[in-house]
C-alpha cells in the first residue's frame, strides 16, 4: 500500500467528487470526456490508491505523471482543494517512495547532464553571436526559457519586441539556467529547487534592473524570482504609452488565441486592443505552456490529438490566425507541425512574432 503524507490524504479525502475540476481540464475534453483523463479521476484514483482500493501499477504511475500540467483544475474546485498542487504533491511523494516513471528518470538525467530537463533537444543561444556574454546591470534582461532555443526566429522576435519597450535589452545568453518549473510539475522537487537556486544566483550576478521571461511558466509559477512574463511587460508599456498597436490589414481578422495556462489575461487584452482584430472566445480549457512538455515527450499521440482538436475548433470558428502566447508551447507546436506555419488556411504564429508586426 502506498502511504501518502497526512496533508495529501486529507486533501484527497476532502474531494466531494463534484467534477467541477473536469470543466477546465484539457485532457478531459480532448479525450472525449473520458472520466479517466480528467482532473477528478486523478484525485479520486490517487485517493483510492492511498486507501488501498487499487494497486500501484506501472500504468498507474505513468498516468499520474502525465497530464497537460495546466493547473486550471485548482481554480475550479469549489471546496478550495489545490487540485494541481495535490497531483504534483502526489508525484513528489511517489518519487520519494522510489516510484519514478521512466519519462521522469529521463528528464532528471538530462537535466543533470545539460542543466535543463530538455537539454538534449536544444542548443541554448544559437540565435546569438558565438562569443556572446551578457552584460551586468542591464535595463532589461531577456530570460528566454529553455524551449525558445529551438525556434531562434521567435527568440529574435521577442528580443526585438522588448527593445521597443526598453532602452537596453540584454539576452541571458547561452548559460541561462532552467527555472525548474517543468521539474517542479513532474514532482522532482529537489532538482527543481537546485535549478531555481542556480537561476537565482545567475540573476543576482547579472543584477539587471528588470527581467522579462519568455517562458510564462517560470515567471508566473515562481514569482519569488521577480521575473515578469512577456505579455504583462508589453501590456504595461502599452498602458504607459511607450508603444502603440498598429491596426491589422483588411477587414476584421479572426484570432484564435491559445493563452498561456498561467496567463493573467494580458495577451488577450493586448490582442483585443488591436484594430481589426476579432479575438474569438475560446473554451475555458484552451491553454498551453511549458508544462505540456511531459505529455509532448511521453505521449506524443495525445499531444497531437490535443493540437488537432484545437486547430479543428479554430477552423470551425473561421479563425484567420492561431496565436500561441507561450513560447515553449509554440516551440512544441512548431515541431509537431514540422515547421508548417499555415494549417487549414489559418496562420500559426507565436505571440511575440505577431506583435512585432503590429506594434510601433
Amino acid at each position: 500500500m502506498v502511504e501518502f503524507p497526512e496533508h495529501l490524504i486529507r486533501e484527497l479525502g476532502r474531494c466531494i467528487g463534484c467534477g467541477a475540476c473536469n470543466i477546465p481540464c484539457p485532457m478531459f475534453h480532448v479525450e472525449d470526456l473520458r472520466e479517466t483523463e480528467g482532473a477528478r479521476a486523478r484525485i479520486k484514483l490517487l485517493s483510492m490508491l492511498s486507501n488501498g482500493k487499487i494497486e500501484l501499477t506501472e500504468e498507474f504511475l505513468s498516468y499520474t505523471f502525465t497530464c497537460m500540467n495546466c493547473g486550471l483544475c485548482s481554480s475550479f474546485c469549489p471546496v478550495d482543494i489545490d487540485v494541481f498542487g495535490v497531483i504534483v504533491g502526489s508525484r513528489s511523494a511517489l518519487i520519494d517512495m522510489g516510484y519514478v516513471p521512466l519519462v521522469t528518470v529521463g528528464m532528471r538525467d538530462v537535466r543533470r547532464k545539460t542543466g535543463s530537463p530538455i537539454g538534449d533537444r536544444i542548443t541554448k543561444g544559437v540565435w546569438l553571436p558565438p562569443d556572446f556574454q551578457p552584460e551586468k546591470g542591464a535595463d532589461l534582461l531577456f530570460f528566454a526559457g529553455c524551449w525558445v532555443h529551438t525556434v531562434p526566429e521567435v527568440a529574435l522576435a521577442a528580443n526585438k519586441l522588448l527593445q521597443k519597450i526598453s532602452g537596453e535589452v540584454v539576452p541571458a545568453g547561452t548559460n541561462e539556467p532552467c527555472c525548474g518549473g517543468l521539474l517542479y510539475v513532474i514532482g522532482e522537487k529537489d532538482s527543481s529547487e537546485e535549478s531555481r537556486e542556480e537561476l537565482r544566483r545567475f540573476l543576482a550576478d547579472l543584477s539587471p534592473k528588470r527581467v522579462v521571461s519568455g517562458c510564462s511558466l517560470c515567471a508566473n509559477m515562481f514569482t519569488d524570482l521577480g521575473m515578469e512574463d512577456l505579455a504583462s511587460a508589453i501590456e504595461e508599456a502599452l498602458e504607459e504609452g511607450r508603444i502603440k498597436t498598429k491596426s491589422l490589414k483588411g477587414k476584421k481578422n479572426k484570432i484564435f488565441l491559445i493563452p498561456s495556462c498561467r496567463s493573467k489575461g494580458a495577451s488577450e487584452r493586448i490582442l483585443r486592443s488591436i484594430k481589426n482584430a476579432d479575438v474569438i472566445e475560446v473554451p475555458e480549457w484552451v491553454c498551453c505552456d511549458c508544462g505540456a512538455t511531459l505529455i509532448y515527450q511521453a505521449e506524443p499521440e495525445k499531444f497531437d490529438r490535443w493540437l488537432r482538436r484545437l486547430l479543428d475548433i479554430a477552423s470551425s470558428m473561421n479563425a484567420d490566425y492561431v496565436i500561441i502566447e507561450e513560447i515553449a508551447c509554440y516551440s512544441m507546436i512548431y515541431e509537431a507541425l514540422e515547421g508548417r506555419n499555415k494549417v487549414k488556411g489559418m496562420k500559426i504564429v507565436s505571440f511575440p512574432s505577431f506583435l512585432l508586426d503590429h506594434i510601433s
Binding site: E6, I9, R10, L12, G13, R14, C15, I16, G17, C18, G19, A20, N22, I23, D32, L33, R34, E35, T36, A41, K44, L45, M48, K53, I54, T57, E59, F60, Y63, F76, P78, V79, D80
Partner: protein, 445 residues
C-alpha cells in the same frame, strides 16, 4: 477480475461500436467506480455510445447476456446512482452531447441527454436553466431527469420534471420509445414514470425541455433567524400574500459551524417578477420581518446567485473546517421542519459530528450536511451511521428521502412506501424482467 458474461457482452459491443468505445483496462474501470457519494463499485466494462442506435445495441446485448447496465451522466450523484453495485456495464452518456433543436421564441430545446447544465446556460441570452444542482453546471440532462433534480429555485420553477416535455428512452429490451407532451393525457403517465426513475427503467437518450425566461426584476434579503420556526411563519405570510418567491433557503447552525458562533439560522429569500410587484412585496416582507423583530437586510443579487446557482452555502460548509461532507436530502411537511432539524441536530451531537441543516420552506426540502474527518476511519463510519439514522428518523416523521438527489442505493422499501413499491415493482417486472437496468437502486427487488 471482470465477470465472464459481462466481458462477452462488452466484446460484442466493441465489435459494433468500435474498440475505443469500450473500456476494459483497470485504470478506466476504476475511474468509473465513484460518484459524489463516497461509495465505490468497479464495473466490468464501460461503454461510450455516441447515438441512440449505439445505446439500443448496448442494452439489447446486455439484456441477452443478462448483464446489468448502469446509465451514467457526469457522476455527480450523492447516492451511488451511477455505480454498478451489482456489477455490470456502465454506460457513459457524456459523448451524446448535441443540441438537436432550439427555438428562441419559446425557449424550447431538444438536446441529447449528455448535455450539461453549463452548456444549456449558453443557449439563450434571456433564458436560463434554473436547476444547477452541483453548482458548477457539470450535471447532465439525463442525470437531472433521472433524479428529478431540485434546486433552491425549485420554489419558483419546480423540479426537473416541470421543465421536461418529453424524452426519448431506450427500454431494457433495447426498444427505443419517444414519450412526449403535448399529446393525449395518457402520455403524461408514461412520461411521469420515466421522470425520477433513477435510470431503472431505461436509458434516456434525448430530452425535450423548456428553459424559462430570466425574470424582469429581482430583490433579495439575507435574514437572521434566532428560531428556525419563524422561517415557517414567514413562509406562510409569503404564500398568503401571493408574493413571487424565487428561492427561500435557510441554513441552520451555519454561523456556529462555519463562523464559530452567531444566530441560529441564516436565510436568503428572493422575490422576483415585475418591478412594481417586487418593490411592493419587498417592502411588505421587510415590514413583516421587522414586526417579528427578525434582523434582515437587502442582499446583493450576485451574492444570492452564488447561493442559488453556485451552491456557495453548501460549499462554504465543506470548506470551513477542512473536513469532508456527507449530504442527506429529504422532504417533510413544512410544519414538521422544526422536528426534522431537531432530529438532525440530535444525531449530530450523538455521533459527535458537526452538522448544518439546509432547508427550503417553500418546498419542505431538508438537507443534512455532516462534516467529518476523512482521515479518521471511525469518524467515517459514524458519519455513515448518522446518515442512516437521519433517514429512518425522517421516515418515522412522515417524511420521504431523496428529494432532488434521488435515493440510489438507499432503496425505498415496502415499509417506507408500500403503494409506490408495489406499483413500481410491477412496472419494473414488466419492462425489465431480467432486472438488468441499474439494479440495486430506487427499490428492492
Amino acid at each position: 477480475m471482470a465477470e465472464e458474461p459481462a466481458v462477452k457482452a462488452a466484446e460484442e459491443i466493441a465489435s459494433q461500436l468500435g474498440e475505443d468505445r469500450v473500456l476494459l483496462e483497470d485504470l478506466d474501470r476504476s475511474a468509473y467506480s465513484y460518484d459524489a457519494s463516497g461509495i465505490h463499485a468497479i464495473p466490468s466494462a464501460v461503454v461510450r455510445p455516441s447515438d441512440v442506435e449505439d445505446v439500443s445495441f448496448v442494452v439489447e446485448a446486455a439484456n441477452r447476456y443478462g448483464v446489468p447496465v448502469i446509465p451514467r451522466g457526469s457522476g455527480t450523484s450523492l447516492v451511488g446512482g451511477p455505480l454498478p453495485i451489482e456489477g455490470g456495464i456502465v454506460v457513459d452518456m457524456q459523448m451524446m452531447n448535441g443540441v438537436l433543436d432550439k427555438d428562441d421564441y419559446s425557449g424550447l430545446i431538444r438536446v441529447e441527454s449528455g448535455v450539461k447544465v453549463l452548456e444549456l446556460n449558453k443557449l439563450f441570452p434571456d433564458r436560463f436553466m434554473p436547476i444547477n444542482p452541483d453548482g458548477a453546471g457539470f450535471s447532465t440532462v439525463g442525470g437531472l431527469i433521472a433524479e428529478d433534480a431540485a434546486s433552491p429555485l425549485s420554489a419558483k420553477y419546480g423540479t426537473m420534471k416541470d421543465l421536461v416535455i418529453g424524452v426519448e428512452v431506450v427500454l431494457p429490451s433495447g426498444e427505443v420509445v419517444l414519450v412526449e407532451q403535448p399529446g393525449p393525457p395518457s402520455k403524461w403517465n408514461a412520461l411521469g414514470l420515466i421522470l425520477g426513475s433513477e435510470g431503472t427503467l431505461g436509458i434516456i437518450t434525448s430530452a425535450y425541455l423548456r428553459l424559462p425566461p430570466i425574470p424582469e426584476s429581482r430583490r433579495a434579503f439575507v435574514i437572521e433567524f434566532s428560531d428556525v420556526s419563524d422561517s415557517i411563519t414567514v413562509q406562510n405570510t409569503v404564500e398568503r400574500e401571493g408574493m413571487g418567491v424565487m428561492g427561500f433557503e435557510v441554513y441552520h447552525n451555519y454561523r456556529e459551524v462555519v463562523e464559530g458562533g452567531g444566530t441560529e439560522a441564516v436565510a436568503y429569500l428572493e422575490l422576483a417578477g415585475k418591478e412594481e410587484c417586487v418593490d411592493l412585496w419587498s417592502s411588505r416582507l421587510s415590514e413583516v420581518l421587522s414586526s417579528m423583530e427578525i434582523q434582515h437586510e437587502e442582499a446583493d443579487l450576485s451574492d444570492v446567485d452564488d447561493i442559488w446557482v453556485r451552491r456557495k452555502g453548501l460549499y462554504e460548509i465543506a470548506r470551513s473546517r477542512g473536513s469532508a461532507i456527507k449530504v442527506v436530502s429529504m422532504r417533510v411537511h413544512p410544519h414538521l421542519v422544526r422536528d426534522a432539524v431537531q432530529e438532525i441536530d440530535r444525531t449530530g451531537s450523538r455521533m459527535k459530528l458537526p452538522v448544518v441543516t439546509i432547508f427550503d420552506p417553500p418546498l419542505g426540502w431538508v438537507m443534512a450536511v455532516f462534516l467529518y474527518d476523512p482521515t479518521n476511519e471511525k469518524e467515517v463510519e459514524r458519519t455513515e451511521k448518522a446518515a442512516q439514522n437521519v433517514i429512518s428518523r425522517t421516515i418515522s416523521l412522515g417524511g420521504s428521502v431523496g428529494f432532488g438527489t434521488g435515493v440510489g442505493i438507499n432503496r425505498i422499501s415496502q415499509d417506507m412506501d408500500e403503494g409506490f413499491v408495489t406499483i413500481f415493482s410491477r412496472v419494473k417486472e414488466a419492462l425489465d424482467p431480467n432486472w438488468i437496468m441499474n439494479p440495486g437502486k430506487l427499490i428492492e427487488r
